[in-house]
């Protein structure tokens, strides 16, 4: 099912500077795996060495945080938007 994955500014250098990537996936985990398979440099920014999503990176399906859905098993349907939202700290 085609879904759009929104890439935040800090991670764009690792995905060929794209801001949106369209891919086919039935779950969030599948979408992120497809993404890190295509863009290997992205992996360490999304996952810990143990393969868990990093605690300073949140993933949303449309406007819902997957931590309160079914986490990486959250199903995706046609046209869903998956957003990767890492913490940023700049202010000066």
């Amino acid at each position: 099912m085609p879904v759009n994955v929104m890439i935040p500014t800090p991670l764009r250098p690792f995905v060929g500077k794209k801001s949106v990537i369209e891919l086919k996936a039935a779950s969030v985990g599948e979408a992120l795996r497809a993404l890190t398979t295509e863009f290997g440099d992205l992996r360490k920014h999304l996952y810990t060495d143990e393969g868990k999503i990093r605690s300073f990176v949140n993933v949303y399906v449309n406007d819902e945080d997957i931590r309160y859905l079914e986490k990486e098993n959250t199903p995706l349907k046609d046209g869903d938007t998956v957003s990767i939202v890492p913490s940023i700290a700049g202010g000066r």
């Binding site: 935040p8 500014t9 800090p10 250098p13 801001s19 440099d41 360490k44 920014h45 990093r54 605690s55 300073f56 949140n58 949303y60 406007d63 819902e64 945080d65 931590r67 309160y68 957003s83 939202v85 890492p86 913490s87 940023i88 700290a89 700049g90 202010g91 000066r92």
Partner: protein
């Protein structure tokens, strides 16, 4: 239209409505020492607020009685301070220990070129006081720490986070939650911003959003990654709007919502932000009951240790210059990005750090290599990588091209 004196009397009468009856977040904390009123000059100054029912005299008096503490007088603090002062927030506190430098002027619009070298809190106070002499501005020229945060925050109703680093963001969040004060949060990177309100009653906190900070080095700061000058102008202005709405008790505050702004795509998006029931700070079974060591929490002290035991030798810019002048066979490797090379370079071979693993075969391991970047951090990583890849004659230029500009070539631009 009523005469000024008649409207003035009428508005003052309306201002006697106690704050507690009007639903503002301020109501429980504001201490009314004397009956609040606006002077004739203030009525004129704030007339565009007073004629709107959403603000009116009640709202303007709430603004006058409000006490807001700005953490940071930099990019976010600039529009925030200007708009809060202009709006008539009665007491503004500014926490900043930094001094104005030339690289600030691209976005920190409270400062003039003549302010370079002055403490930011002092320069900001002067500018804001010139704009609105009717408000009280207190400067706290100090670094916010676990030791002073609770004491600094206690005299204010709302805290606005405009800092630039993770330890201070967690510190501001924790202090706000412990004291029960709202934290108007804004943060920026390159072309992107985030805004929300943390620490409101029943609302989520920063730890609900991000339980832990990233390890050092994985997320670049504005100093490393750059920022569009206008971006803090927009995000800081959004923080000002939310602060004023909290004071007025008007509209829908950004509680439980994370606003994302992308200036390149010119898109605003909103994500739901839930209070985490397992949050160690604001959840039911909280484990954090006092301020902690935030440098340690963010792994910053842990990072310094391995950096100190690096095995790659350093060469100073002066030594490098002497050896180049002598005609030594040195290969200068510049591991910065191409757009940085355009700003200034010392004729090094450009090979960005991120490309090094797959382009390492372009380098000759039999030659003596001096790696450099802007300030020496990336080239230390590059040198370490090359050492592990079997390169034996590798140096790191101490202090990077910035040190070269200081010690060898003063005509070289610094960035």
């Amino acid at each position: 239209m009523a005469t000024p004196s008649a409207s003035c009397r009428r508005l003052q009468a309306a201002g006697k409505v106690p704050a507690a009856e009007t639903g503002s977040i301020m109501s429980s904390q504001a201490k009314v020492i004397e009956e609040p009123k606006l002077s004739r000059d203030e009525v004129l100054r704030y007339s565009r607020h007073l004629i709107m029912p959403e603000v009116g005299m009640d709202g303007q008096l709430k603004l006058k009685q409000a006490r807001v503490l700005m953490i940071g007088a930099g990019g976010l603090g600039a529009p925030l301070g200007l708009y809060l002062a202009a709006a008539g927030v009665g007491r503004l506190g500014i926490v900043d220990f930094d001094v104005v430098d030339f690289t600030n002027l691209q976005r920190q619009v409270t400062f003039s070129t003549t302010d370079v070298g002055r403490p930011k809190s002092e320069a900001a106070k002067e500018r804001l006081a010139a704009m609105n002499p009717a408000i009280e501005i207190t400067t706290h020229e100090t670094r916010l720490t676990s030791e002073n945060a609770l004491d600094l925050f206690k005299d204010y109703d709302i805290i606005v986070d405009g800092t630039d680093n993770f330890p201070t963001r967690y510190l501001v969040n924790d202090a706000c939650v412990l004291l029960g004060k709202p934290n108007v949060y804004g943060s920026i990177f390159r072309f992107e911003g985030q805004v929300s309100i943390f620490g409101a009653p029943d609302g989520p906190c920063y730890r609900c959003l991000y339980p832990e900070p990233p390890p050092p080095g994985l997320v670049p700061s504005c100093a490393e990654g750059g920022v569009l000058g206008v971006l803090p102008g927009i995000v800081g202005s959004l923080q000002a709007v939310e602060t004023i709405k909290l004071i007025l008790g008007a509209g829908d505050p950004l509680i439980g919502r994370l606003l994302l702004f992308d200036a390149l795509g010119m898109k605003f998006r909103e994500l739901k932000l839930k209070k985490n029931p397992d949050c160690p700070l604001c959840g039911a079974n909280r484990t954090i009951t006092k301020l902690i060591d935030y440098e340690e929490f963010c792994g910053i002290r842990g990072e310094e240790a391995p950096a100190a035991v690096t095995t790659v030798p350093e060469i100073t810019p002066r030594e490098l210059k002497q050896r180049l002048d002598r005609g030594d066979d040195l290969f200068v490797l510049d591991v910065r990005e191409p757009h940085e090379y355009q700003i200034c370079n010392i004729n090094g071979y450009l090979l960005p750090l991120g490309d090094l693993p797959r382009r390492v075969n372009e380098l000759d391991s039999s030659r003596e290599i001096v790696a450099h970047c802007r300030s020496g951090k990336r080239s230390a990583d590059a040198a370490e990588f090359l050492r592990k890849a079997g390169f034996r004659k590798i140096w790191n230029l101490k202090g990077g091209i910035l040190a070269w500009a200081d010690e060898v070539d003063p005509s070289m631009p610094k960035y």
